[in-house]
Symmetry: C2
Subunit: 476 residues, 2 copies
């Protein structure tokens, strides 16, 4: 297989940041994270106004840089981009990331024309473009990032997004679940490299196991769905489509100048392409979390444990509404409970409402263990909550999690519901430590590769989408 | 109008807690919050095993208490309840709250029969029952609560719930939004007082403006929908139905022995009754928050401001999917922006993507102010987020909120989206202060009576349900 053109571009020996300054904002915004993360290649600020930027020697033009330059980040105004391309061509630059915006997304005629000319000149010069109107590349393995505060560790999730702010949000949401990225690329107006190229790149990238996309418009539908179908045969692809309705379509036009097209056609094509649709960024991360941590599951029979009273009843409803099969508690589970002397063996159901326990001798961990041994369930969902524990004073995250014995169920797919609730009352100090405890519990679960959700509805929908994906893959 | 029978019962002169002990758990669980909250009537622990409970003189039987006793809380085993009713009858008790469970919800024949006998004996004695199998009454104005950590302030929300754990969850979720309760009553198996009585009580209660219900089964459908229709003409009622599917119906049977019935019939009846349905407790609180703080709105034209890039595009989609009308930015708004010299007046749309601003001279607050002056919008939704501010170091909640000038839009209905996100990266200290800041911002908004939502989808759905309610009420 030929090497993907993005592969070389994503491994630059040197990066020039054009428009760099000490003034704060985006002028220094691209330079700072590259320096702070410790990008190992050469870094060159370019700005004719300064002799130095952030303590580094600044150059008046890309052409003046003494060493080789493969990759240019442009934050100059749109009017200066054609000049930058000419300079970069002379210098032998391979790719320009155009943070520069105010092109076709403004809807203004002269900006649309300028964008076309930018592409024409870049092609003539043999320079590839990321953007314009985008944040560019976050690649922790190469210590490349477009902003501070991003995780420095790599992981197996690849992300291509037309929106840069969406990348910030997705990476933050994903981090709570312990998800890390191989690369995340914001590609804006998709003038040169487009959704097809990024998908194709992640498809062949051995460091990427799961692919997330945020797409406002597809530049090349035929090629996209062809690549999609080939990719989903080996890796899950989860897509949020921005611009689904008439107002959203208007919004995509002014955001990335994308043409959204019919939603029915889109949904059918995504399904046929074997990908998973998500409605928003929360759902995108929810489904990716399940696909990252859980094995292939093609059955829908779910066992639910650990809720209490009303939450068990609603858990049954929400699981069923998400498309899972909340089977009655299987006889083998009842028999084992009876053999263990549980006084509620004939009464408890699925969901297993643990609030009906007479004493603490049979806890949620016991229930889960028995459920995990039953061949009747395809997956389990467990409520992990601090509710009962609050009465017993502060406990460690380790002690708290011990009751659930989640590490002993490794071979069974388990999703955890850990509610994020702030305790509303006059809790005072208790409030603070319960929050801390829950944060630590969440972090431990994420570190252990257990998918965590803030409520049962989101857990059930994520599980159901995962099953959709594997069922479709199996039926090919 | 005759005084509602619950009115007297909810204002007891003295409460006896039968089964009280120092042993922790529920034995002391009912006594502790009554004492800690400072219930002003007499409090009597009853337990033949002890001379004293929690430093108070304990009585062997309700009959032995010297003073008057109106209200009894029972945590004795089911087998002792008939005896308790006999003793209470002698003592002239008006109502018993049966925390005691293990009745019909066990599905066991003898328990079902015992429950029937309990009702028969209570009726004979003229004693009314709350429960069995429930947590009973939280009534902050009378300093009555069934657990610690509940808010001590009252508010205009009434809540009747078959599940006690649901009350804990709802009160905690509601507190984050600044919602307080007139009374919240957990009523379990609804043996005597049932959903009709509680709804009727809240309908006539002058301290209650909005009513929430969590219902697993309706004991008296004809009366319920009659009361519902009369109530919703004057106060909104928001209902979560537990036991919607076949597995949920099984779960309600073992939780509160309710028979769930057909969901289609239910949904139609609730709509005809003028009430609002919610799928889960989050949505229940979301919709109640809107109904509590916003004026009647019957139009669907929404203006959205403050998002950036992808979040604006998805905001348009999610608002439209929730049933709101995301109109194009009206000409009068554009004209005013132009007059103010905003360079993006011809480009910006609705949602107003504030990330396209060239500088900080025209901020989200300016945009909101202009939108609020336009007669084309029925309501506004604003993204309030700390994203941009993180780069500028720590700010106060007051300074943070100043940009949005929400207090100057008082006459216009506004919903706020404040994302709850944990910042995932290596944020360290920044992470902590951003969380603190967001908590304080959330608390200030709630205190100011501004409805806050963790994402645009939930804000849009809550607004749409509110509009449904007022549209139906108007068309009667």
């Amino acid at each position: 297989m030929a090497r993907h053109p993005l592969e070389e571009i994503l491994h630059p020996r040197a990066i020039a940041v054009v428009g760099a300054s000490d003034s704060g904002g985006r002028g220094s915004g691209f330079l700072t994270p590259l320096r702070d993360l410790g990008f190992e290649g050469q870094l060159y600020p370019v700005n004719p106004k300064y002799a130095e930027v952030m303590g580094m020697k600044a150059y008046a033009s890309v052409k003046d840089i003494p060493g080789v330059v493969d990759y240019v980040i442009s934050s100059v105004p749109a009017s200066q981009v054609l000049g930058l391309i000419a300079d970069s061509a002379e210098k032998g630059v391979k790719a320009i990331h155009l943070y520069t915006a105010r092109f076709s997304e403004t809807g203004r005629k002269e900006a649309v024309e300028l964008e076309r000319e930018v592409l024409r000149q870049a092609r003539k010069a043999g320079i590839r473009l990321i953007g314009p109107n985008c944040m560019g590349v976050y690649y922790p393995g190469q210590r490349i990032s477009f902003s501070g505060g991003m995780p420095t560790e790599s992981g197996p999730v690849g992300l291509a997004s037309q929106s840069g702010s969406a990348i910030h949000e997705i990476v933050a949401l994903a981090a709570e679940r312990g998800l890390r990225f191989s690369k995340a690329i914001s590609y804006g107006n998709a003038l040169d490299f487009n959704e097809c190229d990024y998908l194709e790149y992640f498809a062949q990238d051995p460091a990427t196991d799961v692919i997330m996309m945020y797409i406002e418009g597809v530049r090349d539908g035929g090629r996209f769905f062809d690549v999609l179908r080939r990719t989903t045969a080996v890796k899950p692809v989860i897509i949020v489509k921005g611009g689904r309705g008439k107002s959203g379509t208007r919004a995509t036009a002014s955001h990335t100048a994308s043409l959204a097209g019919s939603m029915q056609v889109w949904e059918a094509a995504v399904r046929q392409g074997g990908a998973v649709s998500a409605a928003d960024l929360d759902e995108l991360v929810d489904v990716t979390t399940a696909l990252r941590y859980l094995p292939p599951i093609t059955g829908r029979r779910v066992g639910v444990a650990g809720g209490s009273g009303g939450s068990s009843v609603l858990a049954a409803d929400l699981c069923e509404e998400a498309g899972l099969d909340v089977i009655p508690l299987p006889p083998e589970v009842r028999e084992e409970m009876k053999a263990k002397g549980s006084p509620i063996w004939d009464w408890i159901g699925n969901p297993a409402d643990m609030s009906i326990r007479i004493d603490r001798s049979f806890d949620t961990g016991d229930m889960l263990e028995i459920m995990a041994r039953s061949p009747s369930f395809d997956l389990l969902i467990v409520f992990v909550h601090g509710h009962f524990h609050r009465d017993h004073g502060r406990v460690s995250a380790e002690a708290f999690l011990k009751e659930y014995r989640l590490d002993e169920l490794n071979d069974r797919p388990v999703l955890v519901v850990l509610e994020e609730r702030h305790r509303g009352g006059d809790g005072g100090d208790e409030h603070a430590w319960v929050e801390e405890l829950m944060d630590e519990v969440r972090a431990r679960l994420a570190a252990a590769g257990i998918p965590v959700y803030p409520n049962i509805g989101r857990a059930a929908r994520a599980a159901s989408r995962l099953i959709d994906y594997y069922q479709r893959r199996e039926s090919r």
